[in-house]
């Protein structure tokens, strides 16, 4: 079965550094998402992306965050200047149709900001 792949599985960075989390969605999917889960807390929506632009974003997704689909296959999340509170598991997801009906999630990138 096709799957969403995320790299790296673990990322450790120093506070203030930039990080890029990478995702390869399922090839025929058109809708892309980032979610995150801080340890012990809920999985939170960050952003949705369709037709090469952000379609919706949460309050968490401030100016420090950006997303890009640079080459038609990758979907990246960049955090410009990481903070301690950005430490979380970041999940990429994609779906064939909108409406959040059937999202396929990657296995996540555990980001640790020191």
């Amino acid at each position: 079965e096709p799957e969403v792949t995320q790299t790296p599985s673990h990322q450790v960075t120093q506070m203030g550094q930039e990080v890029i989390l990478r995702c390869v969605p399922i090839s025929n999917h058109l809708y892309f998402y980032w979610y995150r889960q801080i340890l012990g807390q809920k999985v939170e929506f960050l952003v949705s992306f369709y037709n090469n632009e952000i379609s919706e974003k949460s309050e968490i997704f401030d100016d420090q965050f950006s997303v890009e689909r640079p080459d038609g296959s990758n979907f990246t999340l960049k955090i410009r200047s990481t903070k301690l509170e950005d430490s979380a598991m970041y999940f990429c997801a994609s779906s064939e149709r909108g409406g959040g009906e059937k999202l396929f999630f990657g296995s996540g990138t555990q980001l640790s900001v020191l």
Partner: protein, 114 residues
Amino acid sequence: AQSVTQLDSQVPVFEEAPVELRCNYSSSVSVYLFWYVQYPNQGLQLLLKYLSGSTLVESINGFEAEFNKSQTSFHLRKPSVHISDTAEYFCAVRSGSSGDKLTFGTGTRLAVRP
């Protein structure tokens, strides 16, 4: 605003016993409800969903959930669990006004023991 509550962070159960994982939601408008499952070292996978129609929905591996509007619940049940059902289970809601955004609960860890 919509929210999801999963009161049980962990549910230990013996193999072949029945199980119920509880999920309650709040939303002021019509809702779509989902259960996602996360097996160790994997991404979240859609288990089942309620969009409309019959309030009882089933998955292919024996789980079922019933949408109860009056109790604002979408509890997940299985009459007889297997060791392989050990995983984290997430309830999620999308309202008619929230676009593609899913709001997740904190998850329930189902631990099936022999």
